[in-house]
């Protein structure tokens, strides 16, 4: 599990960690049932306060993405929760709305925005996961 922390960002560290773990779980980059580092280990690796990591894990457990099994460790749940995906989709729509609003401020018409979305769709068509690194060649079942 690779997590990158941007120091001095306007996004709080806890949110940076939570978002990256969440995205990696939901995109299937970390397979269901996989064991992930313990709170202590991740805190050490990232040089981040253990309480911060603990809060993130607890939050993701409440979202039913992670499972802390006593004495065994922390795992990605075997079955990903559908409502979590739903929540992410809702948030995606919120963000899209904001972007659309920005587009309007930039003077794009509705038609302009439609064709821009078409362009974006074309550009992302071939990559199963745009956040993946470039070397990621093999294609697994596309969750589109």
């Amino acid at each position: 599990m690779f997590i990158r922390i941007e120091k001095g960002s306007s996004t709080p560290i806890s949110r940076q960690i939570a978002e990256q773990i969440r995205a990696q779980c939901l995109s299937g980059r970390i397979k269901p049932g996989t064991q992930i580092p313990s709170v202590r280990q991740l805190a050490r690796d990232l040089a981040v306060n253990q309480n911060t990591v603990l809060r993130v894990y607890e939050k993701l457990m409440a979202e039913k993405l992670l499972d802390m099994r006593h004495g065994e460790g922390t795992f990605v749940v075997d079955r990903l929760p559908r409502n979590e995906l739903k929540a992410l989709q809702v948030r995606f729509f919120d963000e899209l709305t904001q972007v659309t609003q920005q587009g309007r401020l930039l003077g794009f018409t509705a038609d302009d925005l439609h064709s821009l979305l078409d362009d974006a769709l074309t550009q992302t068509q071939d990559s199963s996961n745009p956040t993946d690194d470039v070397s990621h060649k093999q294609k697994t079942g596309d969750p589109a």
């Binding site: 001095g8 306007s10 709080p12 806890s14 805190a43 040089a47 306060n49 253990q50 911060t52």
Partner: protein
Amino acid sequence: MTSPAIEIHDVRKSFRDKRVLDGLNLTVERGQTFAFLGRNGAGKTTTIQMLMGLLSLDQGTLKVLGRNPQQQPLEVRSTVGYLAEDQTMFGWMTCEEIIRFVATFYPTWDHSLARRFVDQFEVPLKTKIRHLSKGQNVRLGLLLALAHRPELVILDDPALGLDPIMRKEFNRDLVEHLQSAGTTVLYSSHLLYEVEPVADVIAILHNGSIVRQSGTDELREQVKRLILEPDAAARISGDLKILDSRTLSGEVVLVIDNAPSAIPLLREADFTYRLEDLSLDEIFEAFVVGRPPAPSTTTGTAQPMPVST
């Protein structure tokens, strides 16, 4: 009942006619990692020197692990791990010699822990202190501060003079060796982005007193940038804790310290607004150089927003 690790109450201190601390209040609970932030010359080092009993105070009270460092400086120093800003050690001693030398002052000195730090910090035992690099010097100082297993560690700008790699390692040491052992840590810094990942609590020292103390995440929740139209700003400003206000191209750009309670009001009034997250640097800036619109930014009376250009 255990007392807090550090209690500072209404401390005042002047050097000649320059007032450095002006009613400083601060409490550090046991087990916390407490970041003490302020601009250069804000009084961080002065405060720390008082905590160590190295400097007298003009007024107020101050307790370290339940003791008064002015009256019991030796007791305090034997239970606190202290790394001074730009710590100077006997340059003619080798690292090994100073470790042996310092160990004799502490009944609680843990030789095996010291050896572990030697390995981990890559302390060159045979090298004379005057030949150490800045980073090695800090790490040696840290070893000396930690190997007697203090309950409380006070570090005065430990990141000063460390390169980015070493700063990260330092943060890792803090997380791995101190936080996990439940040690209380107070450390000063002006590198906010280095402090944020490790601190439980952040306190901002400005003009001789603490202008804000908060949990890191909580501070981010509360302090945000709010951008809205001038007439909307004028109508709502009485309900906002405004740290900074400026008008840019017809928009009022505020930094507020009560975002969660402001959001429902903004929604209710149906104002068009934007709310943005701030980096810790920006939050710090708002507290120390922000210009609020009027002297009374506290609760109560709605005040028209002075719109400057």
